[in-house]
């Protein structure tokens, strides 16, 4: 059994890993772990990752979670071109800086938008208050401004002339609200241009294939949602009330 990647492309970190592996022609078996069916809580998956998070990588006996760790591992093991994770000390540090910052500054709030705009109303039948919605959208707006000013500046990509892991991770996370029909790129032409640049570099075919499940999420018939999963989601949602 070769390299296995356990993923659901609804998750931004999974899309980053998927796109990177495909773009670099890394052979792998796609092990689909359906988040909507709660399969990340299945006995089989818990054996792979007791933390029940996606993505996970299995390379022989070696099992690894956390997308940033997986991306660095794949980069190194399969000798991806150096622009993905540049060897120059300062440039590499900028990628590391972004990768550290994005957890709370980008990934978390972008995901919150998807929950607020689509999943909470869909699953619970209730809308999140305008006040809370406004707060999250404002936080996202500020962080996107920070992203442009600090990480992008006047460059083509975060590290300069070439795409890196940082652009890949940034973009797939900023795409998350699209699942709820909310387009964060409308707020800034510079951001929209960068988005297009990264998409074209990755390849539009691959990019949109990776995002297909996300953009179709609104069509999901959530009445099929496993009641155990629904309960877990409703508990988790208490903090959004």
């Amino acid at each position: 059994m070769g390299l296995e990647l356990y993923m659901d492309l609804l998750s931004a970190p999974c899309r980053a890993v998927y796109i990177f592996a495909r773009k670099n022609s890394i052979p792998f078996d796609f092990q689909f772990v359906d988040l909507l069916k709660g399969h990340h809580h299945s006995k089989e998956y818990i054996e792979i990752n007791p933390l029940r998070k996606l993505p996970s990588l299995k390379d022989g006996k070696f099992i690894l979670s956390e997308s940033v760790a997986i991306l660095s591992y794949l980069c190194r093991k399969y000798s991806a071109p150096s622009h993905w994770y540049p060897p120059d000390l300062h440039t590499r540090a900028r990628v590391d800086e972004f990768m550290a910052w994005q957890h709370t500054a980008i990934q978390l709030p972008m995901n919150k938008i998807l929950w607020i705009k689509l999943l909470i109303p869909m699953i619970t039948g209730e809308e999140v208050s305008a006040e809370k919605t406004e707060k999250i959208l404002e936080e996202v707006k500020i962080n996107l401004q920070l992203f442009e000013e600090k990480f992008l500046q006047d460059r083509m990509f975060i590290t300069g002339d070439h795409v890196s892991l940082a652009d890949l991770v940034a973009l797939v996370e900023m795409m998350q609200p699209m699942g709820g029909n909310y387009n964060v790129f409308l707020s800034s032409p510079k951001l929209a241009e960068w988005r297009m640049r990264v998409e074209l570099t990755l390849g539009s075919g691959l990019f949109w294939e990776a995002h297909d499940r996300l953009v179709k999420l609104a069509d999901w018939d959530c009445s099929t949602l496993d009641p155990g999963v629904k309960e877990r989601i409703c508990e988790f949602l208490q903090k959004y009330k």
Binding site: P50, L64, E66, A69, R92, A93, D96, W101, H103, T104
Partner: protein
């Protein structure tokens, strides 16, 4: 001007960077940015890092934030001993795996008690007891995962020697300890790990790095603690509002 590190030892990631630099005898100028005195939002610090975060590293014109990025940069530039950031592909991956999980489950969680018991009251704000309760549950869950998945039977978190993971973890865990929640009590495996890491760092360095945070409650009681000036309040209030 050589390497400068802008820190406040009240902050967990600041301590991790400070301890790492000291332990590895990396020469640097310590630039204290006193959080309680509102220096984070000062005009002077704005010139250094307009994004107003610490810790920050300044190496000539190169400015770098985010403790993880700073630690990796220092380990590579000063070629610190390999055990900190192992070159073996799998062990290095495990360090990154820990740091990824840490960013989601440890960072932001273990600092809450200091906010609730010290920082919020200092500016007349309050963290509802309900949220303090939630936070305690989150900490307990995270500690269980830390023990089961990352520590396991090993002497240190992801390897047989101290790595960046242990340093980042320990500094976060010390935060609630300083404010009265001895999370090592009843957790012998974690307590043993802490003893090991402390022994490795050396008692003197450990004491030096932690004196500020470990004295904070006493300072509160004696009213010798600085009261943050009004210009620091908006940032502090925003942070308090983010506590769930």
């Amino acid at each position: 001007m050589g390497l400068e590190l802008f820190l406040d030892l009240l902050s967990q990631p600041s301590r991790a960077v400070y301890i790492f630099a000291k332990k590895n005898r990396i020469p640097f100028e310590l630039r204290t940015v006193d959080l309680l005195k509102g220096q984070l939002v000062s005009k002077e610090f704005l010139q250094v890092n307009r994004f107003q975060k610490i810790p920050v590293l300044k190496d000539g014109d190169f400015v770098l934030a985010e403790s993880v990025a700073i630690l990796i940069y220092l380990s590579l530039k000063y070629q610190t001993e390999a055990h900190w950031y192992p070159t073996d592909i799998q062990t290095r991956a495990r360090v990154h795996e820990y740091l990824g999980w840490h960013a989601d489950c440890i960072r932001g969680t273990f600092g809450v008690l200091l906010w609730a018991r010290v920082l919020a009251p200092l500016i007349g704000a309050q963290v509802p007891e309900e949220k303090v309760g939630h936070n305690r549950t989150s900490m307990d869950q995270a500690l269980q995962q830390l023990e089961d998945k990352f520590l396991g039977d090993r002497p240190f978190l992801v390897s047989n020697q101290v790595t960046l993971a242990d340093l980042m973890a320990l500094e976060e865990l010390m935060q609630p300890v300083a404010v009265g929640y001895d999370l090592f009590e009843g957790r012998p495996r974690l307590a043993a790990w802490r003893t090991r890491v402390e022994a490795f760092l050396g008692a003197e360095l450990f004491q030096e790095a932690h004196s500020r945070i470990l004295n904070i409650l006493e300072q509160m009681a004696n009213k010798t603690i600085p009261v943050p000036p009004p210009e620091a309040h908006p940032t502090m209030l925003k942070r308090i509002a983010r506590i769930t």
